[in-house]
């Protein structure tokens, strides 16, 4: 456990040193405050619209940004050490591959978690203080849910980045594959789903269809933050399938957790096979 923490601690202090943590937190804070203030601009007025609308907008933006940040943070975790020659060295220390990978995950995960809490937390407090007659309890609850799911989504993509990082032999390859992962889950997946729905002309089992959303962590994340307000009508596109998902909030949370555990386990299994 000690060596896991030693690895995690280095990653954490690295991201403090190169100001990654601060930069991510700032981006989150600015975005959240911006959306809160100008989210209603489309309807011709400036100012805080409503908590559900703000969270929904934040979540829609989050699915672009959070996977990208997580992938960027973590794609070189293993392949970068390998290129610097330190992976070989680390493996001659009393440190197993699992410990190294889990230490990295802890370090990157905490970096993202701190940045998220700091960035969106500050934004949440700013909204609570500056906006008049906003329901504090519902805002706090929504913010907590949003921050929690954002962290889980980020962790999932950190783990996905590791899958790439333990397989790739060079950093640019890992970067390219990480971008491909982002492209697939954020842009292509929903299109594919929509396309296959239309092409199948309703022949697919309607009970099975909503479950397909669980195959994409960013969809789970959006469902989680929008369905919580009981406003299923806000769901557009393929996400409207989520109304028929018979698993509720806890099921969605479980889905996000699985999306962290499964890629991390896969990365670990692949890492054990990597030739050093």
């Amino acid at each position: 456990m000690n060596s896991v923490w030693t690895i995690a601690r280095k990653e954490l202090s690295d991201s403090l040193r190169n100001r990654w943590l601060l930069a991510i937190a700032m981006v989150f804070a600015v975005l959240a405050v911006g959306i809160a203030w100008f989210g209603a601009a489309a309807s011709g007025q400036v100012g805080y619209a409503s908590t559900p609308a703000t969270i929904a907008s934040l979540a829609s933006l989050g699915i672009f940004l959070i996977p990208l940040i997580a992938l960027l943070l973590a794609y070189d975790a293993i392949v970068g050490e390998d290129e610097g020659g330190t992976l070989l060295l680390l493996m001659t220390y009393p440190l197993s591959r699992g410990q190294l990978l889990f230490g990295k995950f802890l370090g990157h995960g905490l970096t993202l978690a701190f940045a998220t809490i700091l960035g969106f937390g500050v934004a949440g407090i700013a909204i609570a203080v500056l906006v008049e007659d906003v329901g504090i309890t519902s805002l706090a609850l929504a913010m907590l849910r949003f921050i929690g799911s954002t962290i889980l989504l980020g962790w999932g993509f950190i783990a996905l980045a590791y899958v790439v990082s333990v397989r790739a032999s060079e950093k640019p390859v890992a970067a390219g594959l990480a971008l491909a992962i982002w492209f697939f889950f954020v842009l292509v997946f929903d299109l594919l789903l929509l396309g296959s729905l239309v092409a199948s002309e309703g022949k697919l089992n309607p009970e099975l269809l909503p479950w397909l959303l669980m195959l994409n962590p960013t969809d789970i994340y959006r469902l989680l933050n929008i369905l919580a307000f009981g406003e299923g009508r806000q769901l557009s596109g393929v996400l409207s399938l989520g109304n028929d998902l018979p698993i509720g909030q806890s099921g969605l949370w479980l889905g996000l957790v699985l999306w962290c555990v499964a890629p991390l386990t896969l990365a670990w299994a692949l890492f054990r096979k990597r030739r050093i």
């Binding site: 690295d14 290129e83 610097g84 020659g85 070989l88 060295l89 680390l90 001659t92 009393p94 030739r275």
Partner: protein
């Protein structure tokens, strides 16, 4: 307790044989030189001892345990051939990181950095370090936690002659306190005075192992005598031809001195006879060096091996 013991160890990668039937051992307080052409299997041997890979055949024990076991690796120091470390961190931070991983006392960090001559640079970022300074940092890293087995891959690359001499002095001190040391190097004349034993690998097989004397005997390479005559070189040559029981040696006139290549077994009979003849004014004896022995065992087609993967 042996530092390590390899018995009939073989290793294959993608069906290609990398190591074949290697027997090698190292006792505490011994410095072993591990030599071989590129791709001969030096790095593979080291990786097997470090537990980074499992041998396909044969048995291997390290510090009386199994290779790769964390109780074993805690007592091994390793300097890889080329480490960049973490460019954004200072030497002190990097060494502290590795010390924590090894469970070594953090007070060793400044001590070791001073010992390798980085006392002025320990708070500078590693990206500003020269190759020699990175090498010193790597050495300090290998010495963390007073290892019982130390494996150094090309430790003198980038070091100036004074630093190189310092390094070998340091290794001798460690060795005297019971550390077993493996040195991999291509700078054979540099390591020759410091190693107790040499092991020569070619194409994944151990060609020869032993101390320099044993290797010389095994190689049976001619000893070169440089003789200065009291009279003329011709009379000296005659005296040599008349020696009984000595295979006629190859002789060459170089700057008025006679160079005689003689078989090791013939050396003493020839010298005794020549001393008695009174023809010799001065004698120089050149034993084959480690480099000569190495070339003898590896064969002259050295460049043909260059395609090997380290």
């Amino acid at each position: 307790m042996s530092c390590f013991r390899l018995e009939n160890v073989s290793y294959r990668y993608d069906k290609a044989t990398v190591l074949q039937g290697v027997d090698l051992r190292l006792e505490p307080g011994e410095i072993l030189g591990l030599f071989g052409h590129n791709g001969a299997g030096k790095t593979t041997t080291i990786k097997l001892i470090l537990g980074l890979m499992q041998p396909v055949g044969g048995s291997l024990s390290v510090l009386d345990g199994s290779a790769g076991d964390s109780q074993v690796t805690r007592h091994i120091g390793y300097l890889p051939e080329n480490v960049m470390f973490y460019p954004q961190l200072t030497g002190r931070e990097i060494l502290a990181h590795f010390a924590r991983l090894k469970g070594a006392d953090l007070r060793q960090v400044p001590e070791l950095l001073t010992q390798v001559g980085l006392d002025d640079a320990m708070d500078g970022r590693v990206k500003t370090y020269s190759k020699g300074m990175r090498q010193r940092l790597g050495l300090a890293q290998a010495l963390l936690g007073k290892p019982k087995l130390l494996m150094l891959d090309e430790p003198t690359v980038g070091l100036d002659p004074v630093a190189t001499a310092d390094l070998y002095r340091l290794l001798r001190t460690l060795c005297d306190s019971g550390t077993g040391i493996v040195l991999c190097s291509h700078v054979l004349p540099g390591v020759e005075p410091y190693i107790d034993r040499a092991a020569i690998l070619t194409d994944g097989a151990l060609k020869a192992t032993g101390n320099l004397e044993a290797l010389r005997r095994q190689a049976n390479m001619p000893v070169t005598l440089m003789l200065e005559s009291t009279g003329t070189l011709d009379s000296l040559e005659n005296a040599i031809r008349q020696c009984n029981g000595v295979t006629r040696p190859v002789m060459k006139n170089i700057n008025n001195r006679l160079q005689v290549d003689v078989r090791p077994a013939d050396k003493m009979p020839l010298l005794t006879a020549l001393m008695a003849s009174g023809e010799v004014a001065d004698v120089g004896i050149h034993q084959p060096t480690l480099e000569d022995i190495y070339v003898h065992f590896i064969g002259y087609g050295g460049l043909a091996h260059r395609g090997g993967v380290q």
